[in-house]
């Protein structure tokens, strides 16, 4: 999402954003951090307990986000769903970036035939709609959290791999590397000391961005009914389950969606700040 900026353009004007723009993001990260470690502190109800008498109640003081068709408290379910949702997002981002680094490095630095082959492979994988790659994987392995992580990771890796490849090539052709070559440094040393650090540093920011994106992706799969098994409160699964009640109980769809969007935006904001910081650091 970020790296759209063509490499030849300079970075955006290094205007510092007002720090207040980070405050909501920081608050959300704090909240999710607690939800991750100790959801019972934040939850107001048992997220799995059925209370048929309280089914489909709109948001109120007793149930902040309302209740679902079986009377379960949606707020508590969202809180308890944090762990699984974040685990899937982080896992998928890690799988995607790890794959991207390997493939991208091979394409940029491997021996000529390998590089060419990987290059083609990347183009082939990139030609697949990522969702289709994910669908194929799920069809083979069956739906589960692990498949979801792999599916999203595999689906996003080709895009990042092309970016890694570009970064490495750019670093390889930069002045300081050429200077190092002129100084007679070994290939491996140049690679380790100059090319890789410079090429991979921006990926720290990309990782943050990709977590947000991976969560959106993973929840899309859950939405298509290909995610984790019920009654898991994973956010995408909550949204999918709420679809039946969209007219009578719109909050079951709107609220989990808002949470996903908020998290994706937070990850993006943080990623951008990291990126801006790194770019300033480079100068």
């Amino acid at each position: 999402m970020t790296a759209l900026r063509p490499a030849r353009s300079p970075s955006r004007p290094s205007r510092r954003r007002a720090p207040w723009s980070l405050a909501p993001a920081a608050a959300l990260v704090g909240f999710l951090g607690i939800a991750l470690v100790a959801p019972q502190v934040l939850a107001t109800h048992d997220p799995f307990a059925l209370d048929y008498a309280a089914a489909l109640q709109p948001p109120s003081l007793a149930h902040w986000f309302g209740t679902d068709e079986s009377g379960r408290d949606l707020y508590s379910r969202v809180v308890f769903g944090t762990r699984e949702s974040l685990a899937i997002g982080l896992g998928a981002a890690a799988v995607g970036l790890a794959g991207a680094i390997v493939l991208g490095a091979l394409a940029a630095l491997g021996p000529r035939p390998v590089a060419a082959a990987v290059d083609r492979l990347l183009e082939v994988l990139f030609a697949f709609p990522a969702l289709l790659l994910a669908l194929l994987l799920i069809a083979i392995a069956g739906p589960s959290a692990l498949t979801q992580i792999l599916a999203v990771g595999v689906g996003t890796a080709p895009g990042y791999a092309r970016m890694v490849r570009g970064q490495i090539l750019a670093a390889k052709n930069s002045g300081y590397v050429q200077a190092a070559v002129a100084l007679g440094h070994t290939r491996w040393r140049i690679l380790r000391a100059h090319v890789l650090p410079n090429a991979l540093r921006p990926l720290v920011a990309v990782f943050a961005l990709s977590v947000g994106q991976s969560i959106v992706w993973a929840s899309s799969l859950s939405f298509l009914g290909l995610g984790v098994a019920p009654p898991s409160p994973e956010w995408g699964a909550l949204l999918d389950a709420g679809r039946t009640y969209i007219v009578q109980a719109g909050w079951l769809v709107v609220i989990p969606g808002l949470v996903i969007v908020a998290l994706a935006l937070t990850a993006t904001t943080l990623g951008r700040h990291l990126q801006a910081g790194l770019e300033r650091g480079e100068k």
């Binding site: 068709e69 079986s70 009377g71 069809a139 019920p230 009654p231 389950a241 969209i246 007219v247 009578q248």
Partner: protein, 544 residues
């Protein structure tokens, strides 16, 4: 893509009604209700798109019912009445059935509906032309032959007195022999040729099928409300998977009738002045069969404990909003002839009893999550279900209630939503892979028990026996029932089989599968056929 501009339909409708209106204006204003409008197009939103018009899916039976005629029809009292066959009888020994056909009926390709064509259709079904017709017939059907032009004989291996009842289901629609023999699979799949009130005009895959009136129609069933061709000119049979969308389309006037109203929206549709139809499908209800071959449910005490741990009435009542009836009977649904109340009431919600039974069965310890243990093994059971295919969203919510309630007495139920692709690939089909089977099977009679409980043998495996319960005693009761001609005696035997199943807790009911319809008040005369609740548009007409 051949695409009819959407706007022409409402426009054409609007025009007809305007013309009709101006015609009425001369008369009295009170004629605004109930005056029949000739022609028009019914826009009907159905839930699932089948691969072919005719076949073994219920979606196909609903669709082909508009296009094909059956030999016989079922009326609202459950009596078999004439359709293509004027009369029929079984021989003394019950082994030969003779059907006499109506005179002068033609398929829409111009060939006659004669005895030879009927005999051909029977052979076609049994050879796999219709997978559902096949499982009903295969163990009883011997052969069929034409005696003369209008008389066909069906020979059976053993008596089956309810044969005619079964033939009323859409799976037994009669097709043109000529079409089956001379046309490609593709053509017969997309537009089968029958003698029905409508013919298939065009199928836009992923969107709709248009059916057009058969103006030469002569072979209406005896329980239809009128004679002659259908009133409306066309049916636009749309495929709209999402229930909320279907209902909203009905409420905004985009469609005239919708199938499967979500329970949660039932009340608002009723309040909106729409006509609601609810049909409880007879046959196997949505039920849980226990795996009696492998795992903890080989122990009858554990099965019974599971049954006692559930308050099925409460779960179904809440999720079903009073629209979906709960069902205690694991054999057949309450709409099935020969239904046993006793079997249905065998297990009520009694967690104390469930706990006692589990203690008795040796599951005495509990781990920190409250799951019972025996020899250190947790009481974990796997419940796979066809998500979005065999069970809809309401069904999935009901299973979550089952999981939660069973956990109170120490079961750890793992729910596994299985996509259709995996089910088709044979996932979760063996005793080692699962502990439950969940699912329904529509049927006119309790003869469905034979399909679901016939023992599996080396030569004739029965993969429809979801409990893996190969018991000659139960099979003997059902077989005897199948061949008993006297209805009361037959029902008593079927009831005995249900109680046998209930007593041993081989299967327990959850809820009854419904076929529901909501119809715009401007459309009258839509009814649900009585064999499995599909919409019937032959008598349907618009009013103004």
């Amino acid at each position: 893509m051949r695409q009819r501009p959407r706007t022409t339909l409402p426009l054409a409708l609007g025009l007809t009604s305007m013309i009709a209106l101006s015609g009425c204006a001369a008369g009295s204003a009170s004629s605004s209700s109930g005056e029949r409008v000739e022609g028009g197009t019914i826009v009907y939103a159905h839930q699932q798109e089948p691969p072919c018009v005719f076949g073994g899916w219920i979606e196909q039976a609903y669709l082909s019912y508009q296009v094909l005629d059956n030999l016989v029809s079922l009326d609202e009292d459950g009596e078999v009445v004439p359709w293509l066959a004027e009369e029929w009888s079984a021989s003394e020994d019950g082994l030969t059935w003779t059907f006499t056909l109506q005179e002068g009926v033609q398929f829409t390709d111009g060939t006659p509906v004669d005895a030879e064509a009927i005999a051909y259709n029977f052979d076609y079904w049994v050879a796999g032309g219709n997978s559902t017709a096949q499982v009903w017939l295969q163990d009883y059907y011997e052969s069929a032959n034409a005696v003369d032009e209008r008389t066909v004989e069906i020979h059976l291996k053993a008596p089956y007195p309810r044969l005619a009842d079964n033939l009323t289901q859409g799976y037994f629609g009669i097709q043109s022999q000529h079409a089956l023999e001379t046309r490609s699979d593709e053509e017969n799949c997309a537009a089968p040729i029958g003698s029905g009130a409508f013919t298939v005009e065009h199928w836009t895959r992923g969107q709709n099928i248009t059916l057009v009136r058969n103006d030469e129609y002569t072979s209406w069933p005896a329980n239809a409300e009128h004679t002659g061709p259908a009133y409306v000119e066309r049916i636009d049979w749309r495929f709209v998977p999402d229930g909320t969308t279907r209902v909203a389309a009905l409420q905004s006037g985009e469609v005239d009738a919708v199938y499967d109203v979500p329970a949660v929206q039932w009340q608002s549709v009723e309040d909106g002045g729409f006509e609601l139809h609810r049909y409880i499908t007879p046959g196997r209800p949505q039920q849980l069969s226990f795996d009696t071959k492998e795992g903890p449910f080989t122990d009858q005490l554990v099965r019974q404990a599971f049954a006692y741990s559930l308050d099925r009435e409460e779960i179904v009542g809440t999720i079903g909003h009073g629209v979906i009836p709960w069902e205690g009977n694991g054999g057949v649904s309450q709409a099935t002839p020969g239904y046993s109340e006793k079997a249905a009431g065998w297990y009520s919600y009694d967690p104390d009893r469930a706990n006692e039974l589990l203690d008795e069965a040796g599951w005495t310890e509990r781990n920190s999550d409250g799951v019972r243990l025996k020899d250190g093994e947790p009481l974990k059971v796997v419940l796979p279900y066809g998500a979005g295919s065999i069970l809809n969203a309401d069904g999935a919510a009901i299973l979550q209630g089952v999981k939660e309630q069973a956990s109170e007495v120490g079961f750890d139920v793992e729910l596994v939503p299985v996509p259709q692709s995996e089910l088709f690939a044979g996932a979760y089909s063996t005793p080692e892979e699962r502990d439950f089977e969940v699912g329904y099977w529509t049927s006119v009679t309790a003869g469905i028990l034979y399909i679901n409980w016939r023992p599996s043998t080396e030569e004739a495996p029965n993969y429809n026996n979801g409990a893996f319960y190969d018991d000659p005693e139960l099979a003997a009761i059902i077989l005897e029932a199948n061949s008993t001609a006297d209805v009361e005696a037959q029902n008593a035997l079927y009831a005995k089989a249900q109680e046998y199943i209930a007593e041993r807790a081989l299967a327990i009911g959850l809820y009854d599968r419904l076929s529901t319809l909501a119809v715009d008040p401007s459309l009258r005369g839509v009814w649900q056929e009585h064999a499995q609740g599909g919409p019937t548009f032959y008598d349907a007409h618009f009013v103004q």
